[in-house]
């Protein structure tokens, strides 16, 4: 079965020199593609999780009483919102990367505490996190003052009213925006390419550098895989949104 497929694509590569689906019959290239996809998924999952955490913590810090803390969060958001994520990646990895401690399992080769994958996760998470902070804050603001007043006039403490009333509502309000930002984040993981993180784009480019004839099929594959990944995320988030829906609330 597998053999038949392989032969078919091998033949196709000969008949149509621009359509060499090399990863359909060459094990080494296939391995590259699969490991690339796997890396992309790991990258996406890690970044999504970390950026949400950053968003929540940031939104909480923004409500802090201490002005310096608020300014710090403000600066963080401005920096990451108004500079290209691509340059952020380069900056994080090469500029800051010089100053991170390393450990050395063998004589010379020192493993940095934070690998390029690690830096990609950090950099991209901080990038998306800056947006998440804003999203969560907006969600909290969207909860009507009157709802808080109602809980206050029932004798709730500030914390109780936050914990039981404001946050559950705020979270539902920001899900769509969060959803959008996370989709964006998954798309942005391709930029880790710049610091040689072996994700799907990196592997694809290296394949078509080595085998120019495989360029077209590999591009098609790239396109399809990313659309699928995004689709899975969107689908999952929609399911979650639906599960979180309150009967009769909202539309």
């Amino acid at each position: 079965m597998g053999g038949v497929m392989e032969d078919f694509f091998r033949q196709l590569a000969e008949d149509a020199p621009r359509w060499n689906f090399i990863w359909m019959y060459d094990e080494r290239q296939q391995g590259k593609i699969l490991s690339g996809i796997w890396m992309t998924i790991k990258l996406a999952v890690a970044c999504v999780a970390l950026s949400v955490v950053i968003g929540i913590v940031g939104a909480w810090l923004q409500g802090a009483r201490a002005a310096p803390v608020r300014l710090l969060v403000a600066g963080y958001i401005q920096f990451f919102r108004n500079t290209p994520p691509f340059v952020q990646l380069l900056f994080f990895y090469f500029a800051l990367g010089q100053f991170t401690p390393t450990y050395s399992p063998d004589g010379w080769l020192q493993q940095p505490i934070i690998s390029n994958v690690g830096w990609a996760i950090i950099s991209l998470s901080f990038f998306a996190g800056a947006f998440n902070v804003e999203i969560f804050r907006a969600g909290i603001e969207a909860v009507p003052q009157s709802t808080q007043e109602a809980s206050e006039s029932l004798g709730f403490s500030r914390l109780q009213s936050y914990r039981y009333v404001v946050l559950p509502l705020a979270f539902r309000v920001c899900l769509p925006a969060l959803n959008n930002n996370l989709v964006n984040l998954v798309k942005t993981t391709t930029q880790a390419f710049a610091i040689a993180v072996p994700e799907l784009l990196y592997q694809s480019v290296s394949i078509w550098n080595d085998y120019p004839s495989a360029q077209n099929p590999t591009m098609v594959l790239l396109f399809v895989v990313y659309i699928l990944l995004v689709a899975v995320l969107v689908f999952g988030m929609h399911r979650w949104e639906r599960a979180m829906r309150i009967p009769g609330y909202g539309t």
């Binding site: 010379w108 080769l109 020192q110 940095p112 710049a194 040689a196 290296s206 080595d210």
Partner: protein, 255 residues
């Protein structure tokens, strides 16, 4: 096919030759801090223009687009650190004696005392995206290539000890080592894949006036020691190849 000499005529008519050169390959082609393109290959291009008695326009090219530019007529001549390989000869007109050769080698820390290519097996090795020898090093010696988009990044990664070696052209590595900035590093291996470098004219001109002319230019450069001089001027390690060629072509005209 018959020679139409289109490119030659075009250049002469408008009094300007457009040459594709590298902008990110010191010291062959790079920018000085006012943004002008300079380097050994640029000097060669200028000599060509002067000899033809036309003005010179330089266009920076990438490894990935240099051949298409020539095919397309966007540039008339390409001198852009291109390895002379058979598959490339089918697309563009690579003429005359090669003006340089380089091999592939690695820059590695002295501390590791690498001896042979096999020592790279299973280890991370930094490289530059798009280099044709990445695949060779990877498949022949089992190194794990970590390819960056630029040399600055690759070298930085090596210094940050994120890989055990940086694989690149031996001539480039030599000039880095001789700069005194890389004292803990060496180029320990025997160069692989001796690569002649070729300049190229459009395929149609290969056997015609322009091709002949460029071929002649190169013979002359070899014969009168221009290349060796330029090599010195740009701080490139003297190569045996150029000396041999100079010797060989000394009496070319006499022949």
């Amino acid at each position: 096919a018959e020679c139409t000499n289109d490119t030659w005529k075009k250049v002469m008519e408008r009094g300007k030759i457009v040459v594709g050169v590298k902008a990110d390959y010191k010291p062959w082609g790079f920018r000085n801090d006012s943004g002008e393109l300079v380097g050994m290959e640029i000097d060669m291009a200028r000599d060509v223009a002067d000899t033809m008695g036309v003005e010179l326009e330089l266009v920076p090219v990438q490894s990935s687009n240099r051949m298409q530019f020539l095919e397309q007529g966007k540039i008339d001549l390409m001198i852009a650190t291109m390895s002379d390989r058979n598959d490339r000869r089918e697309i563009v007109g690579i003429v005359g004696p090669n003006y340089y050769t380089s091999g592939t080698n690695v820059m590695a820390p002295k501390a590791l005392a690498l001896k042979e290519w096999e020592d790279l097996r299973g280890k991370p090795v930094c490289g530059k995206q798009g280099a044709f020898y990445n695949k060779i090093v990877e498949e022949r010696y089992g190194a794990e290539i970590v390819a960056f988009t630029g040399n600055a990044e690759a070298k930085q990664a090596l210094r940050d000890k994120k890989c055990i070696a940086w694989v690149y052209d031996d001539s480039s590595i030599m000039s880095d080592l001789s700069s005194g900035q890389y004292e803990e590093f060496e180029m320990p291996l025997a160069s692989e894949d001796d690569n002649p470098w070729g300049l190229a004219v459009p395929k149609a001109e290969e056997q015609c006036v322009f091709g002949q002319f460029m071929s002649g230019m190169q013979y002359n450069w070899h014969r009168d020691g221009t290349l060796i001089e330029l090599e010195k001027k740009w701080g490139i390690q003297p190569t045996a190849y150029l000396e041999k060629q100079a010797e060989r072509f000394k009496d070319w005209l006499a022949e």
